[in-house]
Amino acid sequence: MDVLLDGVLALCLPLLAWLVLRTESLSQAVVLFVAFGLLSALGWARLEAPDIALVESAVGTGLTGALLMHTLSWTEETPPDIRARGRRRPWALLAVAASTLMLGWAVLALPADSPGLGPLVEARREESGVKHPVTAVLLNFRGYDTLLEIAVLLVAALGARAVNPRSERPTPDAGDDPLTGELFRMMMPALLLVAGYLVWVGDHGPGGAFQAGAILAGGGVVALLTMRMGPPRLSSWQVRWALLTGPMLFIGVAVAPLFTGRRLLELPRPYAGTLIFVVELALTVTIAMVLLMFFPGTRPPRAGAEGEP
């Protein structure tokens, strides 16, 4: 039975992708893209990758979808050049088929049952101080990747923030319609609870800084849209400290062993677990703040609406 499910899912993912790129109107494309994201989250679940399903649905689909939808209002509804080239060019289809065939040939040539580094991770999981293998790999065995990845987040936040100058950020005016206000008041505590749980469970189950950060950011976006909270500005020190405690802590933990003659990121065995948890906690705030900074604070001018914010 599940073979059928996998087959259908695997088939309709690329089809949906093709549709996203083929539709003419942008908003339709973005909606299809969100659907595509949810379907791929389902795919992650089928491939027994709960961590990724969580992050994909929260960040990959939720936040990116919201971001794209928000941007649509800036770019005109259906840009002329897309309509001009409405009919698909034949070579595109041919190119997709050719590249899929070639890559597929390589996929099928892959060994069908190589366990990869799974057994090795399994063997040394206790030394990592964390029980959940993915968190062990993410924050201990390959902790260096995560350190650099936090830098990637910071750089992207800096780049996106630098491009939205002060003039675009209005001051939050209260007195918005009650429905969203009520929704926000009800949702926020639950969100905080879920995020906290996710950070804690990361130690022995699917979860961790990324998932918790994404959930928090989701809450923050709702607060932003309902004008409960102004967009985080890099100039205020609270935002800076919230953003940078995580990275500073992580760098501190990474560099500390160097002073005692050990290697970079070599967490001492006995309290590796607690160190990882503390770092993850701080990183959650950082990730939430970064994802929030991607979001412009303005309510976009509907086409023709007067009153530039």
């Binding site: 992708a17 494309a29 961590d51 990724i52 799974g118």
Partner: protein, 109 residues
């Protein structure tokens, strides 16, 4: 039959759709969507590879790689979207500034 091969093939197909879409479209948002789709394709291939372990427990290393991959692709998408929005605004201001501006002059960056 272990379903990893099916997902890997679909991931590869998505990658091809995304890549070709990226190079055949002009509009910025469409190209960003295409790069996201290509990114998901690659990540699905990675996780499909992890699923091949005969012991049934998937190999955690690709999972960690994909987590990093998703965060990286989100960052680049967010940056791309921010640039696109800023450019659209500047072009709108420039367009408004070129015809006789009713009143609201374009504000400096």
């Amino acid at each position: 039959m272990n379903p990893w091969a099916v997902y890997a093939l679909s991931g590869v197909a998505m990658f091809s759709v995304g890549l070709v879409g990226l190079f055949s479209h002009q509009h910025v948002v469409k190209r960003i969507l295409a790069s996201n789709i290509a990114g998901s394709g690659v990540l699905i291939v990675l996780v499909a590879l992890a699923r091949r372990a005969p012991s049934g427990v998937p190999d955690p290393v690709p999972h960690a790689l994909v987590l990093t991959g998703i965060v990286v692709s989100v960052s680049s998408t967010a940056l791309g979207v921010a640039l696109a929005r800023r450019m659209a605004r500047l072009r709108a201001d420039a367009a408004r500034a070129s015809e006789p501006p009713p009143g609201s002059g374009g504000e400096g960056p």
